[in-house]
Symmetry: C2
Subunit: 225 residues, 2 copies
């Protein structure tokens, strides 16, 4: 089975809907590639314009600035994770299996279908790990938050929290555990890669498997106690 998905991203994030034109789609697609390649700090609209073979001014008609573009990409990513989660959890009853699937999803790369038009999932994953905190760790967070632009993240958090509460209705911190799971999956993947002394990963471990095992152990110990 192979299909393509897109999501309606909150329209207050962009000036012009990038999904609505070929240029817009290219801007987002190439932005993902370029942020992956350069890191967000070195990524500029000038460089993106060259990559897309358009002009800086054209990109500014879609996004106010590069921060908004990153926010757009992450909204898309969070929506996609939530979509996949709903898809995988459907018809499942056993909350143990559900939690396991959630941890799988948070610690492994996303399926990439062959279509050259869709976003590169490996890059998206890496951007979520290394750049996602930069969208909310800014002075303007409260202002930005007013337009519900973090809704997909909050929704994802709520979805996971519901599974947690389903598994153990007496646990007092389902949302915090949920956001901790998401953030820790990013952190530990990053650390095990670049700062392994902050983790217990070993040379023989695959990083992704290590994080999976750590989180699995972590969640079930907390919820089974």
């Amino acid at each position: 089975m192979d299909f393509q998905v897109t999501f309606k991203v909150n329209s207050s994030i962009y000036l012009r809907d990038p999904e609505a034109s070929e240029l817009g789609k290219q801007i987002v697609k190439q932005a993902i590639d370029l942020i992956y390649e350069l890191g967000f700090e070195h990524f500029t609209f000038k460089k993106l314009a060259i990559q897309v073979n358009t002009t800086e001014a054209s990109i500014y008609r879609y996004f106010e600035n590069k921060h908004r573009l990153l926010l757009y990409i992450l909204n898309w990513y969070w929506s996609y994770i939530e979509f996949l989660m709903g898809f995988k959890l459907q018809n499942l009853e056993n909350p143990v299996i559900k939690l396991q699937l959630i941890i799988d999803l948070l610690t492994h790369e996303l399926p990439q279908s062959s279509g050259g038009l869709e976003y590169n999932k490996k890059f998206l994953n890496r951007i979520a790990i290394a750049e996602s905190s930069k969208v909310y760790l800014v002075k303007e967070v409260s202002e930005i938050n007013k337009n519900e632009v973090f809704k997909p993240y909050k929704d994802l958090c709520a979805t996971i929290a519901a599974v947690i509460s389903d598994y153990n209705p007496t646990y007092k911190y389902p949302r915090s555990l949920s956001s901790t799971l998401i953030e820790t999956s990013h952190n530990q993947q990053y650390f095990s890669n670049y700062l392994p002394r902050l983790t217990d990963v070993t040379q023989t471990d695959s990083n992704k498997d290590f994080v999976h095992d750590f989180l699995s152990d972590f969640v079930f110990k907390i919820l089974d106690k």
Copy 2:
């Protein structure tokens, strides 16, 4: 009891030791105030120069760029936390108390003595929460890491890991749990403040107490299981 502490920060972080001159000390002190006020993205050496009443060029003689200056500040902060931890844990035997003290330290503001010369601990704490990930979430992380500039963070992590292993020698992930504790304390403090739906904080809770309780609950559940 009132005393003042300073730490030798890894000399590869700076070009000229800021502790060795009045100007250097002012640069760091005012940088803390200004990063707190503006957020790291809006903080520039130009603005800092005005605040310190010196020139941009003079600041560049101390630090290669603002990223290095942030790294310096966080190295100082991590060393300070480690120092306080050693201080508070000394002569204690009971690992339960030790872990509780560690969680206290990670979730509450630091003691600020009255001396006007020392760094503002409230600001430092806020910088650690909101800006610390920006020193390692950069493309150049591996290059930067070569000079041991993250050593204070790794040491702190190892110190906490030792207490964890002391408490429960069979637990398999003392370092990962340790870095998760540190990062989660930052995240949850930030979220409970600005994006409370990602947490289970209530209006009546103090944020710091909420995070303390959440962390306490999960650490002991994990280690007692």
